[in-house]
Symmetry: C2
């Protein structure tokens, strides 16, 4: 059910503003954090941006490896999304945040990061190095080098959520409060 998404349409996986899980790996370590601050940035070559705070372990791993994954979690993963966003993977005595919160992974295809099972879309990204943005704003720009979506809810360049609310994307507000995405509608040009 995981189907490739044309890179020029990868922005559509983020265009409606879901909260994402940022996955990373470097030097034998791997990590996952949540990020509501992300956006599309360009169509072709496809670029996206995400804010990764200096205090996070993800920051070290992404700066070390030059790559990151953006995973779009569905409502079924809301608890895990909040949990991985609430603690650091840096000082974990055993295992990592994936094992601690029961997140299964599969390998990305174009870069060396784990991707999270049960998400509904995935973007594999290479960092476009912009030291000033990274230092001054914690802002990372990535080129999307592969993209995937769960064909049950995204195909032909559009989201088509179903009655199964557990597959809807989640949009964080604050304090454990999320909004899930609602109905689709079309407007004529």
């Amino acid at each position: 059910m995981r189907a490739p998404v044309e890179l020029a349409k990868a922005y559509r996986l983020l265009n409606h503003g879901p909260t994402v899980l940022v996955t990373s790996a470097h030097a034998g370590h791997r990590n996952v954090m949540a990020a509501a601050w992300n956006s599309g940035l360009d169509f072709s070559p496809a670029k996206v941006l995400v804010v990764i705070d200096k205090n996070t372990w993800t920051r070290e791993l992404v700066e070390g490896s030059g790559v990151f994954g953006l995973n779009v979690p569905s409502r079924a993963l809301a608890q895990a999304t909040l949990s991985v966003g609430s603690i650091s993977g840096r000082a974990m005595p055993e295992g990592d945040k994936f094992s601690r919160f029961g997140l299964e992974t599969f390998p990305a295809t174009a870069i060396d990061v784990p991707l999270v099972e049960g998400c509904v879309a995935w973007l594999e990204c290479r960092v476009i190095d912009e030291p000033h943005n990274q230092q001054a704003y914690d802002l990372f720009i990535g080129e999307v080098v592969a993209a995937w979506a769960d064909s049950r809810v995204f195909s032909n360049g559009h989201w088509h959520f179903t009655d199964d609310d557990s597959l809807r994307t989640i949009h964080y507000v604050a304090g454990g409060n999320f909004l899930s995405i609602g109905e689709s509608f079309d407007v004529k040009k």
Copy 2:
């Protein structure tokens, strides 16, 4: 029903990823465009980012004035959001995009831009000049200097949408297709 939003919580107006209307004014002209590519960037001082293409008239006005408004439209304004995102205000023989698409405005308080009536939140922003980002990525960073929300759907730092779907925020995908925001839910830390 328009109530001020504490600047340190202004990010919550964008955190769930709504498509926004960017308003601008300079040298006797004013304009409005749509932008799905926006994000929070910092809590305090509150910063946001938005992508404004080089080809847009908004770009000229924002670069001229150094300020912009981000207006969060509700579903009642979906048609207008698509329309103002589909044509340029540059070569309009009479009036402007506001008058053409029936958008009423009111003045911002801290900066000199019009804000759009019928939206559910508004952020008044001063450009933090970053010429490389603007040139290379069409990326504008703004400090939020005032923020407002419609207290029917946002108060005490949280969205509380109602049965009136016309007040829900809208999240653009592509080709005239939007998703409206859905239900709120809470996860325990």
